[in-house]
Amino acid sequence: MAERLLEIKDLNVVYETDESVVHAVNNLNLVINKGETLGLVGETGAGKTTAALSIMKLLPDKTGIIKRGEIGLENINITIATKYDKRLLRGNVISMIFQDPMTSLNPTLTVEYQIAEVLALHKKDMKKAELSKRVDEILEMVGLPPSRKHEYPHQFSGGMKQRVVIAIALACEPKLLLADEPTTALDVTIQAQILKLMKELKEKLDTAMLLITHDLGVVAEICDKVAIMYAGQIIEQGMIEDIFESKYHHPYTEGLFDAIPDLSKKTKRLNPVEGLMPDPTDLPTGCFFHVRCRKCMDICKTKEPEIKWTNADKTHLIKCHLFNDNK
């Protein structure tokens, strides 16, 4: 039986600003087992980063508020854990690759110093010379010439900074890696190298990953499970085969797949989901997607659909009236 590492139950997160309340995450449920990679996909602004920040307990002070729900990590409810637990839980158990690399890099320190600092924290008995050798190895692993380690972050390109952050996160050998768009700033050959490192970490240490990405090619390559978010909710979830090979999908998921430019075909125009994302301060009634849905029925406008299993194995969930019996 798979061992549960992270379990999010009914999570609701809002941002309270002067003028309004942004409902960023609504009734989110997720489970990640040891050694499992879950891909979190979804529209821009759907609340993916907010969900990750909630796990890290890094929501902005005062404005970012967990309204309801539990986040269990190794069976400890970390939404109520104390400060001491927080520190313990980060560092050794979870590490995060931020969407913006400068969140975790210090502009005034050299790249070498920043990697060595993290290594020293994790491998307390490492000698200086050993540390320096390890820094070189780590840089090489992410395709950076070690001879450039004396430089500062601002001397690196966007993707080079991102690779430093990835190098640091992997060096921590965490049990849970939260990776927010880790390879978006990278070309595909370096991306292949990074994905391989992630797979090795998973094989060697049974590391679990929450991989936030817009790239369905990356999902197809490395994820075991996939969850798709829309307006703060998971609207479809399943094993990789459910998402890529089942006939049944949420209309938003279908829209996402249709919007990807196809390398094998020449088209004049791409095919996006029509309309704009809903305003998270004023979410629609019924199904949050109904205003943009090509299959919208009357019931969709007033009643929120339940999330239901669509297969006998109970691996594939869809939140849509088309798959609710009472349609």
């Binding site: 913006d100 966007g158 080079m160 197809a220 990789i240 829209g255 919007a259 430019p261 390398l263």
Partner: protein
């Protein structure tokens, strides 16, 4: 022959570091014609952003020329530069760092209009801002929001609205859609292509997403460590990639289905050449599967091997 809107001649940008000159852009020759899109791809750190910034003089070139409608703008003084600045805009790669955190959405969009004093009437400015927000799909309620309150996609839309504010002729797009989900990406790409059809915009489009670059570009240039190593029309490059690095790049594309999931993928291996004081020869050589002695020691010609298809590799240098 028709004059290109933008042309660079032997353009170089070196950064001085404690260890020597870093050859970020090292002798780029390119031409972009009015209403066309040049896609620029290449390894992270190969100099794409630096090239873009040097062309519009956000960075001072070390050597070479940048011709805008035939005139070398690197010779322009402050006043002349101010006059053509509005014609050349950039959409930045990084929607976090490029937006001033202390300015509201409308202030950010309006800034270039104010600086250039093209429109001075406040009502007209406000109208222009709301038109621009509409064009890029930003809700009106966000006019007074600050960038940190917004998700990556909305932030990137601000950057686009800001670049469009002055109706420029030439726009450098440095990964304008990489922070967006594929549906909004499709909306923005459609928008950019419509604007090109209607207004004749000329784009230099930098991206790591090869299916995007294929879709949007007329021509594609592949860079490796500061140099152009291959260029061809978009279709030709994908059908007939010649340079071993281009081949590796196209081979590493991940498709959004499970057909290649369990394949053992080739990883480009070998030491990465340091761009600080590089030696003559092919900079991809230490990682190239076809490496032979001629690859190092002398500069390799950038040769037109087929009409409009250029490549710099000894394999094609007979």
């Amino acid at each position: 022959m028709e004059q290109p809107l933008i042309e660079t001649k032997n353009l170089k940008k070196y950064f001085q570091t404690s260890e020597g000159n870093l050859h970020a852009v090292d002798g780029i020759n390119l031409k972009i014609f009015k209403g066309k899109t040049l896609g620029v791809v290449g390894e992270s750190g190969c100099g794409k952003s630096t090239l873009g910034r040097t062309i519009i003089r956000l960075l001072e070139a070390t050597e070479g020329e940048v011709l805008f409608k035939g005139n070398n703008i690197l010779d322009y003084g402050f006043e002349e530069m101010l006059n053509i600045r509005k014609d050349m805009q950039i959409i930045f790669q990084d929607p976090y760092a490029s937006l001033n955190p202390r300015m509201t959405v409308s202030e950010i969009i309006v800034e270039p209009i104010k600086v250039s004093r093209i429109i001075t009437n406040n009502n007209k400015i406000n109208k222009k801002v709301s038109e621009l927000m509409d064009t890029v799909g930003l809700a009106k309620r966000l006019v007074n929001s600050y960038p940190h309150e917004l998700d990556g996609g909305r932030r990137q839309r601000i950057g686009i609205a800001r670049a469009l504010a002055l109706n420029p002729e030439f726009i450098i797009c440095d990964e304008p859609v990489s922070a967006l989900d594929v549906s909004i990406q499709a909306q923005i790409l459609n928008l950019m292509m419509d604007l090109q059809d209607e207004e004749g915009y000329t784009y230099m489009f930098i991206t790591h997403d090869l299916s995007v670059v294929k879709h949007i570009s007329d021509e594609i240039m592949v860079m490796y460590l500061g140099q152009a190593i291959e260029q061809a029309s978009s279709d030709e490059l994908f059908e007939n990639p010649l340079h071993p690095y281009t081949q590796a790049l196209l081979g590493a594309i991940l498709v959004p289905n499970l057909s290649r999931r369990n394949e053992n993928k080739e990883i480009v291996r070998g030491e990465v050449t340091n761009p600080i004081s590089p030696k003559p020869g092919c900079r991809f050589a230490p990682r190239c599967p076809y490496f032979k002695e001629d690859c190092l020691g002398q500069e390799i010609e950038y040769k037109e091997v087929d009409k409009g298809h250029f490549v710099s590799c000894v394999l094609y240098n007979k």
